[in-house]
Amino acid sequence: MSQPQRVWKGRGCAAGQFEGEAVVSSQPFGFWQGLDPQTGTVIDKRHDLCGTNVKGKAFAFPYGRGSTGTPGIFLEAVRNGCAPAAIVNVKSEPMIIMCALLAEAFFRVSIPIVDSLEGVPHEVLRSGDRVRIDGSTGVVEVLSRA
């Protein structure tokens, strides 16, 4: 197992393990009207990640902008294999946590969610970083820098 360069401790909001690439934004994100569930591409024209694909990646954004329809889009992405595989927030609102719980219940897909890191996610993580995330312990490790 590779040695992490940096380790941050946060709160585990949804269980699961992830190791892979991070996609990081400093802007809040809403999946409803924000993600194309057929591809995993960000489609919100007002968002700085518009055009970026988050499929299979650890998606870090400060807060969710949560319409109650959020899990509709999220689970459609999960079903298509196009959802992010982990989420890191400054604060994870219940809407985002619900998405992970539903993905696990209905599609047996674990999407770890961690919030309340000691550092601000979009300051301590960079797009392209290789990270390991444990959704139970809330530990986020940077394995290699972009």
């Binding site: 809407m95 946590i97 619900m98 219940a105």
Partner: protein
């Protein structure tokens, strides 16, 4: 989290797989949100009833649950669908799209959901009482029943609402607890604004408040009266531009007989003054009026009440909607039937407007129309339609909306 014996039995699978799965989701959500237990609910309302939200994932989930014998345990109603079930061809909905919505309807029916297809179920068969615990989603309905009725529900997400319906329970946190229902941000209206508060200022103020507070609980001071529909319009706008799930209007809403009561005895430090200048500025942001043609006018968001139908009929009597403009009046099937009996539907349709029942501009695929400019009196439409319908939006009073539909254009007066 504490579970009763019955809940433990459900979790052990003794009441079938759908209930087990649903309770597992609710228990985990409760744990993540610091709930000590679950609470029984009087009713549920489902937002993933539209194909636009549920998609193929929803159909897969519902099909599996139906196969496993899922039935709702409490009174449960459906949010708008993605088609007008009677007129989808008139609205140019593709047949294969309509078929997927009809499949969802069939599945919800098999689970015992009351097919109200409305964002205002509280005008039909789902009327909560003060203090009832509920498992509702649909942001505009959540804010209405919390604020105007004094029932208690968090903003549940799509499918979590179904978990609530299947088990008759939700995790006991957030707005279910009295201490979390206290007002947090104070909005004081200037006397000159309050004295001359026009009907369409309600959604405008809601939009401003939502934008300012996010998901905090606003308290509005300075208004002395508001109708059912004005409170509905205010709340819907605040829940769209922000995530407001509960507001208090001192002297108007039931948990705010006084400012003290609205704030649970602790008057918030954060005070914001709203005057005519602020209201004018937010209306400009929602969609300022610039001279030019209009393709489509949307009224009835949230779904129109019988009072609104009467008003629309009075405004449209003897008028004719411009041939290049569509005027769509969104409502639910219960109000439609009553409005038909009372002669309003005939007047509205004779004027060339269309009733859009059980859905709305926001929930329906409208690409085939190629609309460029929409006029609406709804703060929620103003927030969403630039994305959902892909139009430029103009926000105006109900009267101005109808004038625009008749003239086929708007003009800055």
């Amino acid at each position: 989290m504490y579970l009763t014996d019955e809940e433990q039995r459900i979790l052990n699978g003794e009441c079938g797989e759908p209930q087990r799965l649903a309770l597992q989701v609710l228990a985990k959500l409760g744990e993540a949100c610091g709930a000590e237990r679950l609470v029984e609910i009087a009713s549920a309302h489902l937002v993933a009833s539209s194909y636009q939200i549920a998609g193929e994932a929803g159909i897969e989930i519902y099909s599996r649950l139906v196969e496993q014998g899922a039935r709702v345990k409490v009174r449960t109603t459906s949010d708008p669908g993605s088609i007008d079930f009677a007129r989808w061809r008139e609205f140019k909905t593709p047949a294969e799209y309509a078929a997927r919505q009809l499949r969802i309807a069939e599945l919800l029916d098999q689970m015992g959901v009351i097919p109200t297809w409305t964002c205002t179920p509280y005008t039909t068969f789902n009327v909560p009482r003060f203090g009832d615990h509920l498992g509702w989603s649909e942001s505009s309905a959540v804010v209405f029943v919390n604020s105007v009725i004094g029932a208690r529900t968090n903003r549940l997400a799509a499918y979590v609402d179904l978990c609530a319906a299947l088990t008759g329970r939700v995790p006991y946190f957030g707005l279910h607890l009295t201490e979390n229902r206290r007002g947090e941000v104070l909005f004081e209206l200037t006397p000159d604004l309050a004295a001359d508060f026009a009907d369409h200022y309600f959604p405008a103020l809601g939009y401003l408040v939502g934008q300012t507070v996010g998901d905090k609980i606003p308290v509005i001071v300075g208004l002395t009266r508001a109708t059912f529909d004005q409170l509905k319009a205010f709340g819907a706008a605040s829940a769209a531009s922000g995530s407001v799930a509960l507001y208090h209007m001192v002297g108007i809403t039931p948990e705010a007989r006084t400012l003290e009561e609205a704030c649970g005895g602790r008057i918030p430090a954060e005070r914001i003054t709203v005057g005519t200048r602020e209201i004018t500025a937010v209306m400009e942001q929602m969609g300022g009026v610039t001279d030019g043609p209009v393709d489509v006018v949307g009224i009835g968001c949230p779904h129109a009440s019988i009072d609104q139908m009467r008003r629309y009929a009075a405004l449209l009597a003897g008028q004719r909607v411009h041939p290049d403009t569509e005027l769509w009046v969104c409502t639910n099937v219960v109000v439609e039937e009553m409005a038909r009996k009372m002669g309003y539907v005939e007047i509205i349709e004779r004027a060339g407007a269309k009733l859009m029942v059980g859905t709305c501009h926001n929930d329906c695929p409208l690409q085939a129309w190629g609309f460029r400019r929409l006029v609406t009196d709804s703060g929620k439409f103003a927030y969403y339609t630039p994305t959902t319908v892909g139009t430029q939006c103009v926000f105006a009073s109900t009267e101005a909306c109808i004038r625009a539909a008749v003239a086929g254009r708007v003009e800055r007066s």
